[in-house]
């Protein structure tokens, strides 16, 4: 240990500490360098970037006055200060990108086994504290852009005003280019940072929501008991209660498959002879009429030939000659006909022939 310390002292990295005899400390140059490296790993708060922008706004007012009054010395001093701030902003922005990249990689690899909740809190902090406010700064719709635009106009105006002072005009031109570069690089860094942070943020946000949901449900169980946990989680389970089991059903169907039905009973033909049929077949009637034409008294002929038929059947047959194209005519004198218990009065109908 002492040997290593001696070596570092001899190489100029360490020196004796003024406050103690056996102590060493870093030489200022090395400390500054290490501070620089450390700063590169840390995020510059957006408040700092905002303060840069406010300074630039103030400087643009001062520069405006210096240009108006054509104060070369004053203009050059303000320009230097502007350049310094512009470069610091650019550097801090690039460092932020690097720090964000390192932190997101650490969250992704999670070597420290941090819980989902912890990792979500870290990424959410980066997003909310650095990226969301930074977006306001680079968004062209935000008012802060007016200040930068104003500064850019002043640089151009200064270039024209101090054209006769070659070096100063050139300095205005350089500042103008620096400002453009700042805009581009801050925008680039923001977009790159966003690309690192956003997917991880979304994943962890979802993971965190899932965890919260599970914890919330367990919390409900703590307070109200399992039976009072009522969630929208429909699952169907239809039990075949009261029905045959699959095995029984299968056996039943096997039995059905081997079933031979008994032959149907024989239909007895002889029965039909004894059944009285009260009906006049129209074809048979037409044939009989054709054989008997001409008929002097159609209804009398019907009574003679179908005397056993009921009155309804006889009347039904009576209209046959009216609907089937026979040449018919009624006699003037009505006549009475008797059939079963009925007496019918009608003018006799003569049937000549079929047309």
């Amino acid at each position: 240990m002492e040997y290593a310390a001696g070596q570092l002292v001899s190489l100029g990295f360490l020196e004796e500490a003024p406050y103690a005899t056996a102590s060493k400390e870093l030489v200022p140059a090395v400390r500054k360098f290490l501070d620089f490296l450390l700063r590169k790993q840390q995020l510059t708060p957006v408040a700092v970037i905002r303060s840069y922008l406010e300074s630039l706004e103030q400087m643009s007012q001062d520069l405006d006055g210096a240009i108006e009054r054509k104060e070369t010395g004053n203009a050059l001093r303000i320009l230097d200060e502007c350049n310094d701030i512009i470069e610091r902003m650019r550097s801090d922005s690039a460092d932020n990108l690097e720090a964000i990249t390192i932190q997101t990689l650490a969250i992704k690899s999670n070597l420290e086994k941090k819980s989902v909740r912890e990792r979500y809190m870290i990424i959410n902090r980066i997003r909310e504290r650095y990226l969301v406010p930074l977006r306001e700064i680079i968004d062209i719709k935000m008012p802060i852009q007016n200040s930068i635009d104003q500064l850019h106009r002043l640089f151009k105006e200064g270039q024209r005003t101090f054209l006769a002072h070659g070096l100063l005009a050139e300095e205005f031109s350089r500042s103008s280019v620096r400002l453009l570069r700042l805009r581009k690089s801050v925008r680039f860094d923001f977009i790159e940072s966003g690309r690192e942070v956003e997917p991880l943020y979304r994943t962890l946000k979802r993971e965190s929501q899932i965890l919260k949901g599970a914890s919330r449900a367990l919390e409900i169980i703590d307070h109200k008991g399992v039976k009072n946990l009522d969630l929208d989680f429909p699952i169907t389970f239809m039990r075949m209660e009261g029905m045959l089991s699959d095995d029984l059903l299968e056996g039943y169907f096997h039995k059905l498959a081997g079933y031979t039905p008994a032959p149907p009973g024989v239909i007895q033909d002889s029965i039909s002879d004894d059944i009285p049929v009260d009906f006049i077949d129209p074809d048979q009637l037409r044939q009989k009429i054709m054989d008997a034409l001409p008929l002097e008294d159609w209804f009398a002929w019907l009574l003679k030939n179908y005397g056993d038929a009921s009155l309804e059947v006889l009347l039904h047959a009576y209209v046959h000659v009216l609907d089937n194209g026979y040449e018919v005519s009624f006699k003037d004198e009505p006549k009475k006909y008797s059939h079963l218990n009925y007496t019918i009065k009608s003018c006799p109908l003569t049937v000549e022939r079929q047309t």
Partner: protein, 190 residues
Amino acid sequence: MKSPFDLPNLAVVFDELRKGRHICVEDGDLYRSLLLEYESFRELFHYLGFALERHPRDFFYFSSDLGFTPVARRMAVFMFILIEHLANEGRSVEEALTSGYIAIDTLPHETSKRFRRYMDEAGITVEKSINTLTRHGFAEYSGGSKFRFRSPVYRFIDLCLTVIRENDPGDEVDDTELLSALGQEESMDD
């Protein structure tokens, strides 16, 4: 004309679904039948009084209006404990649930006093829970000592998000796109 009953594997598909099973790509022919003839199956089951659901993660199940049944409640308690444990261990819940096998003896359900209380109150054991999850197509055993979840496990992930939506409505996922508008400006600049 094709009969509406002439659907591939209809009897088996119906038998599995009515038992509450979730059918996913790992179920081979049954899954393919449902995937190819989803509309016909859905319509037929609808007339029989069942609601066939197709999850965005491509698995099928029967929904119901029975509410939160005791079986569903028991499975959910088991899953809530597991999810909380995985997240607290620093593991990605979705990744842990959807990839790889889980050794049964590493489960936290009976190791912590709090978790054991939930299990006792729900009247479940680790073994019973995994059996129920397996029967419903959420999980699959590998030998006797390990098991893994199948894609239908996303229903429990959805359930956790539903719990948050219903109980803490202000705490939903922020959909603000940080880069979207800037991306357009960027292309305009170019």
